[in-house]
């Protein structure tokens, strides 16, 4: 029972914390531009306001358009429910493995790309085409870095990989997985629509990808999409923390361990968010046709991580 409650708690934590992480990055960007930036409450009241607003829906839209925010949100929640946060168990992690995790995110993306085409505007088609192209190219890097980690852990479930890496000595982990970390970081940037792949704060047709797809959305639909997107970003950051900085994650359900784990988790996630924000501040958005090169770098890093492990001979 406690197991279930704890798992539920960390799942809810993930959902509630997601806008705050987004706020943190925005605040960083504001600071770098000599602006004050929004307060922490702002991101939540933004969402709340969107949820209560009326919607304007295009006359061209079909049921796909209405269903998409819910399907997307459910897909992200299902993926989030598989991720260990405070301790080495997750709500539904027993149901599947990293492959399922990747494809659950694909469900939401599939519908989002369809809904973008549903309103019959050029923006939607443009965003849809670009999103599907870039995410196709991110997929092998994402899978391969998971496989490289899974190979080291001899298990493919998100829980299992986390448990494994929390038990091995830091130097060894660092050595074997730093390359996979690079790959996953790049994929995280791409998946959460961050600079240098996409720019979350622009509506310029030449540069936008994610925003172009959801241009026609408003009200609670938009709120669900925004929130889902923030959760997806936090899920990736949490995975980076779980796999590469797992130390301190609680092994059992006693309170002091969990408290420490919570504190460490917040530090880890906000540090990673700092990295994302730092990259965003210090780089320009890549030209669309340069982005595949970046994703190719991620793929090569993942291959090197895999082969590196072979050469070192950890398979023994």
């Amino acid at each position: 029972m406690t197991t279930l409650l704890l798992s539920l708690f960390q799942f809810l934590l993930l959902i509630v914390l997601a806008p705050a992480v987004n706020w943190f990055i925005r605040k960083m960007k504001a600071a770098s531009q000599n602006r004050v930036g929004p307060g922490l409450g702002q991101v939540y009241s933004d969402l709340w306001k969107l949820f209560r607003k009326d919607m304007v829906i295009s006359e061209t839209a079909s049921w796909i358009f209405h269903a998409m925010p819910f399907v997307f949100f459910a897909g992200v929640l299902a993926a989030a429910s598989m991720v260990p946060v405070l301790w080495a168990h997750s709500l539904f992690g027993f149901v599947g493995d990293v492959i399922l995790f990747v494809y659950l995110l694909a469900v939401g993306r599939f519908f989002m790309a369809l809904a973008a085409l549903d309103t019959g505007t050029t923006f939607g088609g443009m965003g849809s085409s670009r999103e599907m192209t870039l995410s196709s190219l991110a997929e092998p890097a994402l899978l391969l870095s998971f496989f490289a980690l899974g190979f080291h852990a001899r298990v493919l479930s998100l829980e299992g990989i986390t448990v494994h890496f929390s038990a091995v000595s830091p130097m060894q982990v660092l050595f074997f997985t730093s390359l996979a970390f690079g790959a996953l970081l790049i994929v995280t940037l791409a998946e959460s629509g961050r600079i240098p792949v996409d720019n979350p704060s622009t509506h310029l047709e030449l540069t936008m990808i994610h925003e172009a797809m959801i241009l026609e959305y408003s009200g609670r639909h938009l709120a669900l999409i925004e929130w889902g997107h923030q959760i997806k970003q936090l899920v990736f950051l949490t995975l980076l923390a779980d796999f590469f900085f797992p130390w301190g994650i609680a092994g059992s359900g006693n309170l002091p361990a969990l408290g420490l784990s919570l504190a460490l988790y917040l530090i880890k996630v906000f540090s990673l968010a700092f990295v994302i924000g730092w990259i965003e501040i210090h780089s320009a958005k890549l030209r669309l046709f340069r982005a595949p090169d970046l994703l190719a770098v991620a793929f090569v890093l993942a291959i090197l991580s895999l082969l590196g492990q072979l050469i070192i001979g950890s398979g023994a």
Binding site: F51, D54, M55, V56, S58, T60, S62, W63, V71, F73, A74, A78, F92, F94, V95, D97, I99, L100, Y103, L104, A106, A113, L114, A116, L117, D118, G120, T121, T122, G125, M126, S128, S129, R130, M132, T133, S136, L137, E139, P140, A141, L142, L143, L144, F147, G150, F151, L156, S157, E216, G219, R220, L224, L288, F289, P292, F299, A302, L306, L310
Partner: protein, 676 residues
């Protein structure tokens, strides 16, 4: 139980000729011939399910004087699995055909269509049950010829005729290789019977074995449409009537998998390790190139045909790994990989069948296959749209549909090569797995394009604007397959157990299914992973319903205003302003330009000044490297030889008679020389 099979055969024979009784009445002929096909399909499903569930085999030996051994049919679970796919798909396709062939009435001879249709199915049924190489080749040829006539059924269109010719040539090249493989087995064993081949397995010299392997792989690979032997497939499959395309892409290419598996696991005994690697190399090439070319297609049925090449590649990835594990003496892993391949065989049959029927519905509702002319069909054809979407999600390997289940199994099979055995020797297998992931994501892109451009947005032409929903029989034909897509996922552990008996019947290796399934879960044999399709379906449904209900409870009913799409303040959004299919795939065309070698030409006409344009023409093309670099030179070579050979062909009968005479003399001399 065997009665059902006899009934199925009888119904197909009757159905084949029934149409001719009503040759003057299109509708009566249609109902008679396709009605009987539906019954035959149902009987076949019952028969094959009976064998699969009880595990009892069936055999029939026809006594009498046959020139090359007794005519023996048998169905063990392995054959029954293929019988099930053929029967189930022909059941759905025949229901669909009742409505679909109405458009041919008065224009084409329905009785003739029914005749070839029935004998096409009948030939496939015999191919997977006959136990003698000679008759196998006979039925194989019957299958090819019947399908050829179905491909050129609309022979008034020149592209159908040329596709038919190409198909006929390629399929006979393939058959020649299969014949060679069987003849080598015959020379070695002195018999055409499959049982004799099985008994002699493992007694071949390595060289002979390799030759037979390549002959069989090329022969069956041609039928399966693996790259680089695929060129006929995207031409021929789309030309046939859509319910036949569904059968050709869904099951006919699977008979090649059947034949290949027989050779690999029954006839050839121990396999050297590199066979598996050869198959894996061809498989990954077919997977990636197949989907990359599907992405560039604007013709809905050609797109589906290219995607069949991708899926055959995925199936062969499983087969290749099974072979690799077999040579490493890992029967459990080999069985698992084989099950994964077989699972994808049935899944692909169901969702590709569904998609081809969906494409047929689009064709019959709009009279065009070009998705550039479609758009907005989801409002005119809501049922077709829902079914096509189901198929598109399944083929894009999205949970909770069946495509994901078999791709998951293939993923695990590939990863086993790395984590389970021979670490370091198969370092490539996780890379293959990640490339499979790339193919899966590209397939999702491809089907977002196909569904999104054709069914969503606004109508791009009069065809699409005046589309109408298809008839009840066509809807139910698709409905059966859509339910199949969901059922094959939710019941996955149960399906896996059945496939366990199938793969056991083929390889003889005993697979402890307890190690691979556990209640609702599928389990990797190395215990590194587990997955429950049923639970994830429930979880997704739970989150979906939970979100919707919670929002409704907390916030009340949503207030919606309907308005035009955002037009940037310049009124007059036109359907032409939407993204096109060509535009949608443009980023990938550019990223993979080293492969596509795209060329484009823009022609502008003006009246003396560039501001006074009168006409613009735009042309964009991609190249198919295999066609360009392999087949075109080959065709040129054949043409050169033909021209040379023409010199001795004068047209005088006396000269030809003298050729025959000279040949005869030479042969006699040769034989005389040998016997003395």
């Amino acid at each position: 139980m065997a009665l059902f099979f006899y009934a199925q055969i009888l119904l197909h024979v009757l159905g084949g000729i029934a149409g001719f009784l009503f040759e003057q009445h299109g509708e009566k002929a249609n109902r008679a011939t396709h009605g009987l096909a539906v019954l035959a399909g149902a009987a076949g499903v019952l028969f094959s399910l009976g064998i699969l569930l009880t595990g009892k085999s069936w055999a029939l030996e026809l006594q009498g004087s046959f020139p090359v051994g007794v005519l023996r049919f048998a169905a063990n679970p392995f054959s029954a699995f293929f019988l099930l796919i053929i029967s189930f798909l022909s059941l759905a396709a025949s229901i669909f055909a009742i409505g679909y062939t109405r458009e041919f009435q008065g224009r084409k001879n329905i009785a003739l269509l029914g005749f070839f249709y029935h004998f096409f199915i009948l030939a496939m049924l015999f191919v997977v049950t006959v136990q003698n190489a000679f008759y196998f080749l006979f039925f194989w040829e019957l299958m090819s010829l019947a399908s050829y006539f179905l491909v050129i059924f609309e022979h008034e269109r020149p592209e159908a005729r040329s596709a038919g010719t190409l198909y006929l040539i390629m399929t006979h090249v393939g058959t020649a290789f299969i014949t060679a493989a069987f003849l080598l087995l015959f020379i070695h064993t002195g018999s055409f019977s499959f049982d004799a081949f099985r008994a002699a397995a493992g007694t071949f010299s390595p060289v002979l074995k390799n030759v037979i392997f390549f002959a069989a792989f090329i022969g069956f690979g041609t039928k399966a449409g693996v790259i680089p032997l695929h060129i006929w497939l995207p031409q021929a499959h789309p030309q046939a009537p859509s319910h036949v395309s569904a059968l050709m892409s869904g099951v006919m290419i699977k008979t090649a998998v059947y034949g290949l598996l027989l050779f690999l696991f029954n006839f050839l005994g121990e396999a050297p390790g590199w066979w598996g690697h050869v198959i894996l190399a061809v498989a990954i090439l077919s997977t990636l190139l197949g989907i990359l070319y599907a992405l560039m297609e604007n013709d809905l049925k050609r797109l589906l045909a290219f995607s069949s090449i991708e899926n055959i590649g995925i199936i062969l990835l499983g087969v290749g790994m099974a072979l690799v594990f077999k040579t490493l003496h890992q029967p459990l892993y080999a069985g698992f990989a084989l099950i994964a391949a077989l699972y994808h065989v049935i899944n692909h049959a169901v969702f590709k069948g569904l998609l081809f029927l969906g494409a047929g519905s689009v064709l019959s509702g709009t009279h065009t296959r070009n998705i550039e002319h479609l758009g907005g069909l989801i409002r005119k054809m809501p049922w077709t749209a829902a079914y096509f979407l189901t198929g598109a999600m399944a083929i894009s390997a999205l949970p909770p549909l069946n495509g994901f289940v078999s791709e998951w199994l293939i993923f695990i099979a590939l990863l086993l090569g790395f984590e389970g055995v021979g670490v370091g020797r198969h370092f490539f297998s996780p890379i293959l797995a990640s490339l499979l992931g790339l193919a899966g994501a590209l397939a999702a892109t491809c089907f977002v394009k196909a569904f999104g451009i054709a069914f969503l947005g606004k109508a791009r032409s009069r065809h699409a604007a005046e589309a109408h929903e298809v008839s009840g029989s066509m809807k139910s034909g698709m409905g059966i397959l859509a339910v199949g897509c969901l059922g094959l996922s939710l019941a996955a552990p149960w399906v896996l157990k059945v496939l366990g008996t199938v793969s056991q019947a083929l390889s003889g290796a005993d697979i402890p299914m307890g190690a691979l399934t556990q209640k609702l879960f599928l389990i990797s044999p190395s215990e590194s992973s587990r997955f429950s399709p049923f639970l994830i379906a429930m979880i997704l449904l739970g989150f979906l319903a939970g979100t919707a209900v919670l929002l409704r409870m907390v916030l009340g009913k949503k207030l919606v205003r309907v308005g035009p799409s955002w037009d940037c303040g310049m009124p007059g959004l036109e359907p032409r302003m939407q993204y096109t299919s060509t535009g949608y795939s443009k980023p990938l065309r550019r990223i993979f330009s080293f492969l596509y070698q795209p060329t484009r030409r823009v022609e502008l006409e003006d009246e003396g000044h560039e501001m006074l344009r009168t006409a613009q023409r735009f042309e964009s093309k991609i190249t198919h490297p295999v066609d360009e670099w392999v087949y075109r030179p080959l065709a040129n070579l054949v043409a050169v030889f033909s021209r040379k050979a023409k010199r001795i062909q004068t047209g005088h009968i006396q000269l030809y008679l003298s050729y025959i005479f000279i040949t005869l003399i030479l042969l006699l001399l040769f034989l005389g020389g040998r016997s003395s």
